[in-house]
């Protein structure tokens, strides 16, 4: 019985953590370049809607996922234009993106509510999938979950072990210095803001094509905001993001198991824990010294312009 609950909770943690992971990884890249994009929820919704509708119309899942990714990037490029080129307030532009995504996906998605489309099934990995417990939890999933596993080390390696990753961090840390070294700040920020959007689109597609295969309005139900918090929780690190996303996901599953086995912790308190922890991290990371050490991008949210240099 208890073993079952552990297996099912861990299994659920990966399931509900995966959309959070994608959105968080994307936002880490965008924020590392110095662009704060609060529009994750809007981009995820557009991704979820696009993925579902393309799957419904064409029956081709990979086309659906690609379309969702592109639409996420398209929305992010709008934010990039607003915040990098026009240098408007990034918070305002990000919020606008949320409402835009909610509105457009709701409007265009009207006809797709209640339809059935192709969706992802679990693929068991040979040998690994047969390991007791671990096999069913980790290696008997749909392919998007596997993509999540792979994305984390790839992004980690990219950020810390490649020149391009170093340039990205430099742009977010000190755009002036990066510019002086000949890195194109504007282009770099554009690229990673848009890549961030790709990931949000993918996160949305995971929800509408694998997690709960359907389209209903506002189906991401606030997961984009959780991802915004997770970026801070993860102190802009992809590996901690993985732990954080699965932990946030795990808690959202564990609340139900706890109700069933009657653990006397109120659900509301449990749901609060991740955020409490996020606030704790923010307090902790507010000191500049610690910030530097952990890699919070110093130029986050600050538009860059050469002219203002003195």
């Amino acid at each position: 019985m208890n073993q079952d609950i552990i297996t099912s909770t861990l299994s659920g943690a990966l399931r509900s953590g995966t959309p959070l992971l994608f959105a968080t990884l994307g936002e880490i890249l965008a924020e590392r370049s110095g662009v704060l994009n609060l529009g994750l929820e809007g981009m995820m919704l557009m991704g979820a809607f696009t993925g579902f509708s393309v799957s419904y119309i064409t029956g081709n899942l990979w086309l659906a996922v690609m379309a969702a990714i592109l639409v996420g990037g398209l929305m992010a490029s709008l934010h990039a234009f607003m915040s990098i080129t026009l240098r408007v307030n990034q918070v305002v532009s990000g919020l606008a993106l949320v409402f835009l995504g909610e509105g457009l996906s709701g409007f265009w998605g009207h006809g797709f509510v209640g339809m059935q489309a192709e969706s992802f099934n679990n693929i068991k990995i040979p040998f690994l999938g047969d390991i007791p417990y671990v096999g069913t939890i980790v290696f008997d999933r749909d392919i998007l979950v596997y993509i999540g596993y792979i994305a984390v080390p790839v992004i980690w390696w990219f950020l810390y072990k490649t020149t391009a990753g170093m340039n990205l961090r430099a742009v977010g840390e000190s755009p002036d210095a990066a510019d002086a070294r000949g890195i194109n700040v504007v282009l770099t920020r554009y690229i990673y803001t848009i890549i961030g959007g790709f990931f949000s689109g993918l996160a949305g597609a995971y929800i509408s094509l694998a997690y709960t295969p359907m389209w209903v309005q506002d189906m991401t139900a606030g997961r984009g905001w959780i991802a915004v918090a997770l970026v801070i929780f993860a102190i802009w690190d992809p590996v901690i993001a993985l732990i954080g996303a699965y932990a946030f996901g795990g808690i959202s599953v564990l609340q139900f198991s706890f109700q069933i086995i009657q653990v006397p912790i109120p659900v509301n308190i449990m749901n609060m824990f991740p955020y409490l922890f996020t606030i704790f991290v923010m307090l902790f990371a507010s000191s500049n010294k610690i910030k530097k050490r952990f890699g919070a991008p110093s130029a986050l949210g600050i538009p860059y312009s050469r002219e203002e240099k003195t």
């Binding site: 709701g106 009207h110 006809g111 209640g114 929800i207 309005q217 506002d218 109700q259």
Partner: protein, 356 residues
């Protein structure tokens, strides 16, 4: 003498004009009209049925996705000031704003669904969903093999608690050994969360799921895991789990809307608290799917007739709460007031109402 005649002429002119002009009816909905749930049931039974019944006599406008709370007041005001004389507010969270709007527009009739405030131009309407919940409990109780039934529930409000109690009374009347495990999701509408709640119940051994949620995620989870599910709101939930879906307690709002509009057209409308039931047709059990064996269907239909005729009431005593305390003694039934404020679970429910 002449002036009196003139007044009479004008009055009769107005009367003729108002007779000829269609009645303008406004609806505000909390979700999209095709949500396969609450709003769709309101739309089908409201907008569609009224249009069909009254044709040119009415002119209907509906507004979707009106957020509950403060924002709805502007929508109500704009409808009323555009001459909509009969306005339906179809979700509990509009209540404070409807009360305000009814004060500001005394010549407009407001009808509020699932609230409790009435005034001279504000009526309330809702229905005894517990009757259909009881019948769906009969189905669940007959279909379970593990004797463990799961209930995915939104918030511990009296409406939801009442439904769970009625459902459990139904379950236990055919299967006294079965229990109903409740999990709270603390959301009306969040497909992934509802699905996780459903999967947790399935993992703990439940083989039939019921729900008080507005998305079909629980039905979908049941389909994936090869167990049974009972929907809610609208029979359309069945399309998300053809091998899981058994039936659903559903709303047929036309049973309220059509006579209500008629009374406004006739000029006989008076404020009231309408609480419909299965006999009115407001509350129904959706047709049972082929998965439900014939003898179970027969039993359910027989009980449905008894409920409709008034010879049976699900909340007839003796009814005990979870701790075994007698709450409704033999020979008595729960009163409507008791039901509308119920905050205890009957015997057979596993789970807690959080504020206990």
């Amino acid at each position: 003498m002449k002036s009196k005649f003139l007044v009479l002429m004008i009055l009769s002119g107005i009367a003729i004009l108002s007779f000829a002009a269609p009645l303008k009816i406004g609806f505000i909905f909390v979700g999209p009209i095709n949500d396969n749930g609450w709003t769709q049931a309101q739309y089908d039974g409201g907008v569609v049925a009224i249009q069909k019944a009254f044709g040119d006599q009415v002119q209907i406008k509906y507004i979707e996705n009106v957020p509950e709370g403060a924002a709805s007041l502007n929508v109500l005001r704009s409808l009323a000031s555009q001459g909509y004389k009969l306005i339906y507010a179809t979700s509990f969270g509009y209540m404070d704003q409807v009360i305000q709007a009814a004060k500001e527009f005394p010549n407009t009739i407001f009808e509020m669904c699932s609230g409790y405030a009435t005034s001279t131009n504000l009526g309330e309407y809702f229905g005894a969903m517990e009757q259909a919940r009881y019948l769906s409990g009969l189905v669940a109780g007959a279909m379970t093999k593990t004797n463990k039934i799961g209930f995915v529930a939104a918030y511990p409000t009296p409406e939801v608690v009442r439904g769970i109690d009625a459902f459990t009374l139904g379950v236990r009347s055919v299967n006294p050994k079965a229990t109903v495990q409740v999990v709270w999701t603390y959301t009306w509408y969040d497909p992934p969360t509802e699905k996780e709640a459903a999967l947790s119940l399935i993992n703990s051994g439940c083989d039939v799921l019921a729900q008080h949620q507005d998305s079909p995620a629980a039905v979908q989870a049941a389909q994936q895991k090869g167990i049974y599910a009972i929907g809610y709101d609208s029979p359309n939930m069945g399309q998300f789990g053809p091998n899981a879906y058994l039936t659903a307690p559903i709303w047929n709002w036309a049973a309220f809307y059509v006579p209500n509009v008629q009374s406004v057209l006739n000029g006989t409308w008076k404020t009231s608290f309408y609480y419909g039931n299965m006999a009115d047709g407001l509350v129904q059990l959706a047709p049972m799917s082929n998965l439900v064996p014939a003898q179970v269907q027969k039993l359910v239909n027989a009980m449905e007739n008894e409920i409709k005729s008034g010879s049976f009431n699900p909340f007839e005593g003796p009814i005990y709460d979870q701790s075994g305390k007698l709450m409704i003694p033999a020979g008595k039934s729960a009163t409507l007031d008791q039901l509308l404020s119920i905050q205890w679970f009957v015997q057979g429910v596993i789970g807690k109402i959080s504020n206990q």
